[in-house]
Amino acid sequence: MSQRTPLYDQHLADGAKIVDFSGWDMPLHYGSQMDEHHTVRRGAGVFDVSHMCVVDLRGGGARSLLSRLIANDPAKLRSPGRALYTCMLNAHGGVIDDLIVYYFADDWYRMVVNAGTRDKDVAWLRQHAEGCPVEVLERRDLAMLAVQGPQARELAAPRVGVDADAALALKPFTAAVDGDWMVARTGYTGEDGWELVLPAGEAVELWQALLAAGVRPCGLGARDTLRLEAGMNLYGQDMDETVSPLACGLAWTVAWAPAEREFIGRGALEAERAAGPSPRFVGLLLEDRGVLRAGYPVHAAEGQGIVTSGGFSPTLSRSIGLARLPAGASDRCEVEIRGRRLAARVVSPPFVRHGEPRVAL
């Protein structure tokens, strides 16, 4: 039985094409995925991301639990409202999930985890919290909207349940809370904007107010092309429990210092590092006509790699992708598409940021 967010009926009323995403009935688009994509690059769009899960860690043991469970260092969260992107690893260094942790108080950290991993994440957290002075609270009572684009904050500010001036004053990767409302200057599109957490019962009202203000409803289709242009990983595609952060472009999220912090997976990552260079994780720009798709083989002089995410970039009007190549692979490679080899160029993501192309075509 598929799960639905508090906005499901609203999506139908807005003309959404609904698809299954990790067991959730979610909007793919509301007519044109392409137009929704461009709207977020140029104006403001809103996504229902209530299928993602807010998990609150409450209690004095929250920080020490996180310190053991995440590869980034929660000690970097020095002031209330700061956010941190991190991976949660298994003992083999594989990625259980990628997530954002927010710090609000020494006895209150909040994680936002992926829809497809929420059950195993919560189980993992509870298993490791056993005996610690911390409660793991899955906040099914909350909804989450992402309002993204250069005009997003300005249009949304008067409609959020946090003081508008305080919300507009938020710096990137920080958040403000007021009761069950949270406004965070984070996102998954490469544009400015907010991720909003609010009581599920208020989600429809906020959605309608945003649409009335000129914000366009956007589906998961546009969300995927936007995040790909922004060079952001998708869990389950670019990495999973068999891939370490060193092999999916997320080495920058691993906090090696302080050396005495024994997070789960650390030993495996150190062994991987000691064994030599990890696979190279890159952006690809297809030079020929065609569309890169996840799973296509990549041929480089140094061996074979694989496209982990691929698609058509509406901003560049070219196909782009993310790929895992052999360690030390050069910048020239060919992607095999239906038996033919097409030239691709290795580029450094993001492909697009704040509405502007960041790679030469």
């Binding site: 793919l28 688009h29 044109s32 995925q33 392409m34 289709g221 092309t225 006509r289 065609g290 569309v291 798709r293 698609g311 058509f312 509406p314 196909s319 239906r338």
Partner: protein
């Protein structure tokens, strides 16, 4: 409700055929197919002059979502393809039965046309899908 022109032949793979005066056929994907595929961003067409057998994957339409095969609806020779789709694949979405045609074929056996679906039968198939 998708459009199903009455003068065309159809396949259960959501392709259409138009029989021209010279007996050759023009092939494309149906309105239902283009809507289900989503916005097209790339179309790969067969080589003119190539021989294809009924059921062969001979073209690919790629949308923002995924790549989908287009099958040869009949056995024969590819006479020509819609070159305009290289730069404007969205024509398949905008005008699936007109400017969005894919390729032209010469039939080996005109009798197979009788085995294809007519508009009424194809409409019935769509009704079952709903």
């Amino acid at each position: 409700m998708s459009e199903v022109p009455s003068e065309l032949k159809y396949t259960s793979d959501h392709e259409w055929l138009r029989v021209e005066d010279d007996g050759n056929v023009v092939v494309g994907v149906t309105d239902h197919a283009q809507a289900a595929l989503g916005e097209l961003v790339f179309v790969e067409l067969p080589e003119s002059g190539s021989e294809v057998a009924q059921g062969d994957a001979c073209a690919v339409v790629e949308s923002v979502k995924a790549a989908s095969d287009v099958y040869a609806p009949v056995t024969g020779e590819i006479l020509g393809v819609n070159e305009d789709l290289a730069d404007t694949p969205e024509k398949v979405n905008q005008d699936p039965y007109g400017d969005g045609w894919l390729f032209r074929m010469r039939l080996v056996d005109p009798d197979v046309l009788g085995e294809l679906l007519d508009a009424e039968a194809y409409q019935a198939l769509l009704d079952e899908l709903d």
